[in-house]
Amino acid sequence: MIKIKNISKSFDGKEVIKDISGEFDQGKTNLIIGASGTGKSVLLKCIVGLIVADTGKVFYDFRNFTEADKDMKTQIRREIGMLFQGGALFDSKTVEQNVMFPLDVLTEMKQEEKLDRVNFCLQRVGLENINKKMPSEISGGMKKRVGIARSIVNKPNYLFCDEPNSGLDPQTAIKIDDLIMEITHELNTTTIVVTHDMNSVMGIGEKIMFLFNGMNLWEGSSKDIMDSEVSELQNFVFSNKVMLNLKSQK
């Protein structure tokens, strides 16, 4: 479980996220949604510590990450897996080396054990026989899958995904979403997904936080979202024609 308390962050005097608090449950896909520029990615980076928040605290299973010393922060970070928007695969390494990287650096496993684990993870994300390919030789969807494989290879307790299906065709996007949800349940991770894709929201949103202008305006599940009375959320949700049709059918 991850808990955030009163997180705020400004850039050049402009407050991008304002006093956000909330909880993200273990074993669930927790979504942070909102239109572009509402501070979703900034909030996610504040949670993982890539951006230092101006105020507020982040707790990983009751461990205060914000005030932790460097060793504790490193320890917590080694329990984190993260999928970045562009995959963030290392250009100079093959797919296999990319996925094996956390094991190489963070564990004392033997080469055969590492290779088994890498192959297991690649199979788990539906990729086989691409071990020796370079990131530049594979498609965007494959890169995301490799990114997921790399983020789960170390059996993380916390999984973060920053716009996992941006730039993907709808079919691949759904597959990636399903994969994230399955892995969350399988590994019982606390998963936080940042997205503005309504298919993801309806498909995998077990717990949703809606951001608007840097504020947390609404929390609930995908089942509640249609009935919410927050006008900003309604505008966001029903700006999608499919959702509008769903509403009219309802």
């Binding site: 460097k70 922060k73 490193t74 970070r77 984190i80 993260m82 928007q85 562009g86 290392f90």
Partner: protein, 247 residues
């Protein structure tokens, strides 16, 4: 003020290299990889440039020595001194900054904008140390070797051109190379090589590591890395020359 701020960030960056380090085995492998890369990237270019530097210096020195009273072997003595004290360590440093420094800054800058550095940080790895320290160590190990190669090729270039053009006989050239030779020049050239290698690799890594924005900014960071490295090399060259003079 801006310079002081930037310098402070640079010093902090250097400090970052030595905290939360990974295992020595990890650094060993990365440093060896970087050494090979630097060697492959630079050896041919350094050898070619140095050979021509030596050849041109021989011709120019001969052209400017109009007095028949000056013995011919002075030409190679001048070439030797210029090569060991300035041309090999300093001019090659400028080429090194353009070739290897820009590659370091560009590589790290690209890693920054494509979130690869963030990926390392999220894994709990000190990205500055993991990425920059092996580059700096490899530079400190490899650049003195490149300076030695450059010195050899430069003197060889002078020898070949001097003989082919009939400027100086091989025997005179060899005699001049040995004439009043102070081995401290070699020590001094290597001290310079260590200092320049550290400056170029650390400044380039610093510029690349803190790139923000997109592809355009990577280009700007790369240019800035080369420019700043060259200025730092020339400044330190002056101060080191003063030290040599004081000796």
């Amino acid at each position: 003020m801006q310079f002081m701020k930037e310098f402070g960030r640079y010093v902090t960056f250097l400090g970052l290299l030595f905290v939360r380090r990974e295992t020595l085995k990890t650094y060993y492998k990365l440093t060896v990889d970087e050494c090979i890369l630097i060697g492959i990237q630079s050896a041919t270019l350094v050898a070619v440039v140095a050979a021509f530097m030596g050849a041109v210096t021989t011709v120019q020195t001969a052209y400017n020595m109009v007095s028949p009273l000056i013995p011919k072997y002075i030409i190679s003595q001048v070439v030797r001194e210029m090569t060991i004290l300035e041309l090999a360590p300093t001019i090659i440093a400028i080429i090194y900054a353009g070739k290897v420094g820009s590659s370091m800054a560009g590589g790290l800058g690209s890693m920054r904008i494509t979130e690869q550095i963030d990926a390392l940080e999220v894994m709990g790895i000190n990205s500055a140390s993991y990425l920059a320290l092996p580059k700096i160590l490899a530079s400190i190990l490899m650049y003195p070797l490149l300076v030695i190669l450059a010195g050899f090729c430069s003197l060889l270039g002078g020898y070949v051109v001097g003989g082919l053009a009939g400027i100086i006989t091989p025997a005179d050239y060899t005699y001049g190379l040995r004439f009043f030779f102070d081995s401290y020049s070699i020590t001094f050239a290597l001290i310079k090589a260590f200092v320049f290698a550290f400056l170029i690799s650390s400044i380039s890594s610093f510029k690349g590591y803190f790139t923000t924005g997109g592809a355009l900014e990577v280009g700007i960071a790369t240019t800035s890395a080369v420019t700043t490295s060259i200025i730092a090399v020339l400044l330190s060259d002056y101060f080191l020359a003063q030290l040599l003079y004081l000796r």
